[in-house]
Amino acid sequence: MTQPKIKFDRVTKRYGPLTVLNQICLDIDPGELVTIIGPSGSGKTTVLRVLMTLESIDDGVIYIDGEPFNKMRAGGALAPASNAHIRRLRARIGMVFQNFNLFPHMSALDNCIEAPIHSLGLARGEAVNRADELLDMVGLAGLRSRYPSQLSGGQQQRVAIARALAMQPEILLFDEPTSALDPEMVGEVLQVIRDLASAHSYTMLLVTHQMGFAREVSDRVCFFDAGQFVEQGPPQELLGSPKNERARQFLSKVLEAR
């Protein structure tokens, strides 16, 4: 049995009295593409945010490649992780946000080289070469000097994907990457994600409301509701004939609306 790339072990996250993640457990294999679906406000995004260390967790352990992430091994026990430890493991993860979150005062190219230079310590020339390759890969080779305000939503999100890839992550997190896009731009972003899934070995975790896309690209779909993974399985199975009542209700609503 292979070591899971990512492992959530009874992870709990609370906001005041509200428990957003209630002892969630999830194993994701290397190279696997797992999609998380579920009602709005159920905490799907929080799953990604705690993994990216944008939120702290209150209880439980997250493992990356078998190494505790939010904790570190000290003797036989687990101690709170040092900043250096978190930084080292976090470098394996890249994230793409719903609202792109590109840096508006930087060109597309600068968005993609800033972190490689400062975080990875790459020389500027090398960072530029790699950024150009990535911008080319997402179909934006000619737009490297444009600022985010001069790009369409779909183009911005593709720059954001290139920016995340520029950090050479092994794990990619997509937080509703097409929810903020006009309908005609959804396809171009999904195509980039599709290419990443088929041609590369990234481990990917995707939160989306695009059920058709989830069915097409996912190795596994997880239904998340009320702070827990309620049901999971192969896309055909979970999206076609869910066993769980809440999953069934959710899917019938979502599919009806289309």
Partner: protein, 218 residues
């Protein structure tokens, strides 16, 4: 009513000295104001209430006390407390710096608070450290947002420098007052000084308006 141009020409050296002093006061007060403002802003951004308290108190005091009262207080009362006195010039710089610190601190804070939280998320997700996060992501955006407000405040500060005439700091308004009283040509001196302030401030004010419009469009 005759307007005596020759009296202006005769005292051009003192007027020029006044203008130079005004400019120097503005630069010094602005410099110390930025330093104080950055500290006040850092305090105001603390999440713990207790850590925020000193900055809150500072801001409230120096935004509410009238500048004139503060200038007199620092020049006349502070020496009684400290047991040593400062020159009028130093007292004036201190008073304006304290006021500038309070206003600039609030302006800086507004710029930082106005930034979408997603920007910091992105910087963190990309592994940018504390310094890179501030220097590359937060400050450039925050400064761009509040640049019109800063430029506006600079015009206010320039006008405030004229208050230092009250404690005999030899800036532009003071020179006009002294020359006027010596020659009884108040009209000539105050008219020309008023025009000089307008000529100095109006372009800066226009610049602020332009920056505001540009900021709104972006």
């Amino acid at each position: 009513m005759n307007f005596d141009w020759s009296i202006l020409a005769a005292h051009l050296d003192l007027l020029a000295l006044g203008a130079l002093n005004t400019f120097l006061i503005l630069l010094l007060a602005l410099f110390f104001g930025v330093v104080i403002g950055a500290l006040v802003c850092a305090g105001n951004l603390q999440t713990r209430r207790l850590l925020r308290l000193p900055s809150r108190i500072y801001t409230h005091i120096f935004r509410t006390v009238p500048e004139m009262a503060l200038i007199f207080w620092i020049y006349l009362s502070l020496p009684l407390i400290l047991g040593t006195s400062f020159s009028a010039f130093a007292s004036g710089i201190l008073a304006l710096s304290l006021v500038a610190g309070a206003f600039l601190g609030e302006i800086f804070r507004a710029g930082i608070v106005a930034m979408p939280a997603g920007q910091v998320d992105a910087a963190n997700a990309l592994g940018l450290g504390f310094v890179a996060r501030w220097v590359k992501v937060i400050l450039p955006q925050a400064l761009r947002t509040v640049l019109p407000a800063i430029v506006n405040f600079i015009t206010e500060l320039l006008k405030m420098t004229s208050l230092l005439a009250a404690i005999t700091v030899g800036e532009l308004a003071y020179q006009a007052y002294i020359l006027g009283s010596q020659t009884f040509k108040y009209n000539e001196f105050f008219t020309s000084v008023a025009i000089a302030y307008f000529v100095l401030i109006f372009p800066v004010s226009l610049l602020a308006r332009r920056l505001e419009r540009r900021g709104g469009a972006a």
